[in-house]
Symmetry: C2
Subunit: 348 residues, 2 copies
DNA sequence: TTGTACGCGTTATCAA
DNA sequence: TTGATAACGCGTACAA
């Protein structure tokens, strides 16, 4: 912008015509060389290349995109990138995008539908070719049919309400059900659930799995659904412990709940799994180093991002049938010790 | 792209001239309305707005950017977004970018200088206005002066070799030194260091702090520098334990090393801190729940991203002096139990 | 083999 | 208050 050009004038980055002038040819010839097209005499090509190097010319992708009607850009709208689960998804998405020569725009919706909408709107203006979306709360009517027809959307981790789109999710209900069944298998009858944000799809499904499992075994529900973060999960656990008949086992809806529960149990001087057994949702590296080692439902975060990105590119490349697709990835229970097992590591 | 227009023709998104035709005015008038410029008769403005709504017109930012010579886009090139530390940085950057109405492009360099260079090149072509970079290994000569003059770069977490640019880093040397001094204060004389990737700036500085601390106290170094991931850190720890005089304390260069060390000690049936004391670099949520609770050097990941983004926008807004700036953020030792202390939580 | 002219969708200039 | 018309930097169609 403020670089001084060869003639002393202020100029920005060099353009095709700068190179053309410098090499004494037309811009079209430069364009040919840049894009490696045939039909350029070797000697001119060399001259042009020298001019390109000496001027440090780089093509302006913005102009290319405007002309070519494609931005080679996709966007990922995520609740919170500092959540390791989503970060892992983002990594996979970034890899797939790179593989296809696409650029990735990252946006954080903070679980807020209005922020999400504002972002999506801006992304559309930026001509993104496709959108990967972890949908915030309900209310996606704003994604009109016209929009979805021009910008393919893939929902990940949670399905999109109201509208139809490709979706990649995990077995939330089944994962939770198996986890609770495992606790029942250990002989527990008072099994609590600590979760959060009831409007969240993942929480609803996990809660549903918990309830099914209890129902099938004639057990009574003990749920705490006001635990969106670690302190509130700890508080929820404390309130459960104050019950006349406190739970002997807990199922944690996510990592934050798991940690909160752990803190509360530690404060109360209760040992896991002897006093209270614990199984949670979403595995993490350190679960294997904690004492006791945590039994958790593992969800394939990387695959989630990867598959979602693949579905999107299939659409972009016109390789997908028009109707929307739904991929459900397996979760599996990683049995360690907090459930009461002594096993070193295994699955069920 | 494949939406059928009002006349049955294939058309993409509506443009200014579509709106103009529909409202019976010129494109400039529509442009005025869209941009809220003055000098438009109220009645025409209303008519234009109706046309905009009925056609669902959205401005094409690509075209705007081409015309206006500014992309309102910045990029973050990071080693690995699935590393929670960088994810936290990314979150801060995203927030600052949004605040300024900028879009954020996310790129992963995988610690590879060539991948990084390829990305930076592409980003320049995409006309990003600024670059936040966690520099990979040495070799940043490719960032020529001309480039840096036209695209401001801010290095974060590690400084840029060879070239001068704004930089935001943390107190690596001092943080490590204090941590090791703390272990010395507990009476340890055989203190090991487990680190990785010696070419990494952060590792070099932390190693330096470790050495200074030992040197000032007349102690001998025990370092293992081949531990880039958890298994190799575990292996490094095992090899230290096989020494004739094994260490009674360890300093871990980062989270991965910390976890690897923990695993190795657990396997060996050694207790922390009684058999071997441990202090590591980089705090994390769960450090407070592990047994024992881990004493770690906390680095301000969010601030790192935040400050770096702020420096960048100061440049973009022309609010910064030409010479490059260097911000060093404080690290502090969060004393918990793995060092041998019994304190609940504190700093030193 | 090379070059001219036009269009992508927008904003800016200047005249009406 | 409005509207032709020219950029922005590039690719494409069509000539030369």
């Amino acid at each position: 912008m403020t670089t001084l050009g060869p003639f002393g004038e202020y100029k920005g980055r060099p353009t095709l015509s700068d190179v053309a002038r410098s090499a004494g040819v037309s811009i079209k010839t430069v364009s040919r060389v840049v894009n490696g097209e045939a039909n350029v005499r070797e000697s001119t090509a060399v001259r042009v290349k020298e001019a390109i190097d000496s001027l440090g010319y780089e093509p302006n992708e913005l102009a290319r995109n405007l002309k070519g009607q494609r931005s080679r850009t996709i966007a990922l709208v995520i609740a919170d990138i500092s959540n390791p689960f989503y970060a892992e998804c983002a990594k996979a998405v970034e890899l797939v995008a790179r593989e296809h020569g696409y650029t990735l725009i990252l946006s954080g919706s903070e679980e807020d539908i209005e922020t999400e909408q504002a972002y999506v709107r801006m992304l559309a203006r930026r001509q993104v070719e496709g959108l990967l979306l972890v949908p915030a709360d309900d209310g996606h009517g704003y994604l009109g049919e016209g929009f979805l027809a021009s910008v393919p959307v893939v929902a990940l981790d949670r399905p999109l309400d109201d509208v139809s789109a490709d979706t990649v999710i995990v077995q939330n209900r089944l994962g939770a059900k198996r986890a609770v069944e495992h606790l029942i298998g250990h002989g527990h009858t008072r099994i609590a659930y600590v979760g959060a944000q009831e409007h969240l799809y993942t929480n609803r499904k996990r809660l549903q799995g918990y309830r099914e499992s209890l129902g099938e075994n004639g057990l009574k529900e003990m749920a705490r659904l006001e635990a969106p973060d670690i302190p509130s999960a700890a508080e929820a656990m404390r309130s459960l412990l104050e019950l006349p008949d406190p739970p002997t086992a807990v199922f944690a809806m996510n990592n934050l709940a798991t940690v909160g529960i752990l803190k509360a149990l530690e404060e109360a001087g209760l040992s896991v799994p002897d006093d209270v057994a614990l199984v949670g949702f979403d595995d993490f590296e350190l679960a294997d180093v904690l004492h006791p080692r945590l039994t958790l439902v593992r969800q394939p975060a990387f695959d989630l991002g990867w598959r979602a990105a693949e579905l999107l590119f299939e659409r972009l490349l016109g390789k997908a049938a028009p109707q929307s697709r739904r991929v459900v990835l397996e979760t599996r229970l990683v049995v360690r010790e907090s459930c009461g097992c002594r096993a070193k590591e295994g699955t069920s």
